[in-house]
């Protein structure tokens, strides 16, 4: 019984004892909480029936909105700024869809940097002016858009340590930036 009591005390105070860090947050929102222009842009660019899930994101760069949906069999994610202006469209693709020259550049970067790697997820990212983006998704004109690849991969460094990364590559497959992805601790699932 005494142990139980100690547990309860620990639990009661645990939430208050440690200060919170700067919160980055993502939450599901309803369609009516999304800025009108974002809804309009999405309706014009992807005309037709689709089930869209809307999210609001708060990061150190501020507030943004994100629409996630399946479109012609591919997973799409469209990001809008706080006012509802389109920022970019990300489409999940397979490795073979990258294009051979770009793919070989990406693979040669990964194989020089790491002794072993495994690609987990690839997203092709389109950004640019809102009209150009709309035109692209309606008519397929790519003229003035910026194309990038966001790739999640697990890699082993020379020291033998395996880590999870997100790398951003340009249209030719040249690395722009990378950051380590923190997997939320799963102590409750392991022990």
């Amino acid at each position: 019984m005494r142990l139980t009591f100690i547990f309860l005390i620990i639990i009661l105070f645990s939430g208050k004892a440690f200060s919170q860090k700067k919160v980055e947050q993502e939450k599901r929102i309803k369609k009516q909480d999304v800025p009108e222009i974002a809804l309009d842009w999405l309706q014009d660019s992807f005309e037709g029936r689709k089930k869209v899930r809307w999210y609001q994101e708060i990061s150190d760069q501020g507030l943004s909105f994100e629409a996630k949906f399946l479109w012609s069999g591919k997973f799409h994610s469209v990001e809008f700024d706080s006012l509802g202006k389109i920022e970019d469209v990300e489409i999940e693709i397979q490795q073979k869809e990258i294009g051979s020259e770009t793919e070989s550049n990406i693979l040669s970067f990964l194989s020089t940097e790491y002794s072993e790697f495994r690609i987990e997820r690839i997203q092709k990212q389109y950004s640019g002016d809102e009209d150009d983006l709309e035109e692209f998704f309606e008519e397929g004109e790519i003229n003035s858009l910026t194309v990038r690849y966001e790739i999640e991969y697990i890699a082993k460094t020379a020291s033998g340590n395996q880590t999870f990364w997100e790398g951003l590559f340009d249209q030719k497959g040249k690395i722009i930036s990378k950051r380590e992805i923190e997997i939320r601790i799963m102590d409750n699932l392991i022990f």
Partner: protein, 228 residues
């Protein structure tokens, strides 16, 4: 935990306790706490304490009241080797404090995580050997499948709740006697901040399928997890 959740747990306990009169049944309160330290090489050290307090009553005698007493306390320590960002292997030592039946256990396990867009699935494979003085060694194999679902958005951010639903069949062997147990757990958790979690669970355990006396145990759990 909201008031609603609390009443839900209590009514669940009461409902089950009246259902299971002719079989062996007991229920109780099961607080647990775990501390996990991440080492610089990516490996982890974990300490865990589980405490089981049972509530029981002799149904044969209607005069008898509900009783509440300490049943057992389990202490565990693990060393966990990181195999990849999503999988690990661990060795554990376990000591049980229970009236007349203190026990030692050694544990070997492999755990891996599958990530999906809106949830995660954790697999845990465990072998353990339990040593009870003056008793035969018990060997067990356990497999736990746990689904971890964020309740706000696709990721659990600090301050947000999540749901974990898990099932764990346990195969046991002790002196040619084969045993099977299953543990079904529904958990409502809250990520207080990146270091801390609190979880409220209903843990429903069934065993004695092959032996006489099908046994069910139902626990109201409360767990605290701290990692640094």
């Amino acid at each position: 935990m909201g008031k609603g959740t609390f009443f839900f747990l209590i009514s669940f306990l009461i409902a089950f306790s009246s259902l299971a009169q002719d079989q062996v049944f007991f229920t109780g309160f099961f607080p647990e706490a775990a501390i996990t330290k991440k080492l610089s090489n990516g490996n982890k050290v974990n300490f865990k304490v589980e405490n089981q307090e049972i509530i029981f009553r002799n149904f044969e005698n209607p005069e008898d009241r509900w009783q509440f007493r300490h049943y057992r306390t389990d202490l565990m320590a693990f060393y966990d080797w990181k195999l990849s960002p999503l999988s690990s292997m661990a060795l554990g030592l376990f000591y049980r404090v229970q009236d007349g039946s203190n026990a030692y256990r050694i544990i070997q396990q492999f755990a891996t995580l599958d990530r999906f867009r809106r949830f995660r699935i954790g697999h845990r494979f465990r072998l353990d050997q339990t040593f009870i003085p003056n008793d035969a060694v018990e060997y067990r194999f356990r497999y736990r499948l746990a689904m971890d679902i964020p309740l706000r958005g696709d990721e659990v951010d600090p301050g947000e709740n999540y749901l974990v639903i898990s099932s764990e069949p346990i195969f046991g062997l002790q002196e040619k006697e084969f045993g099977l147990e299953n543990r079904f757990v529904v958990t409502l958790g809250k990520l207080i901040n990146p270091q801390q979690k609190i979880e409220y669970s209903v843990d429903y355990r069934t065993d004695g399928f092959f032996q006489e006396g099908f046994r069910t145990r139902l626990w109201a759990k409360i767990g605290y997890f701290y990692n640094f």
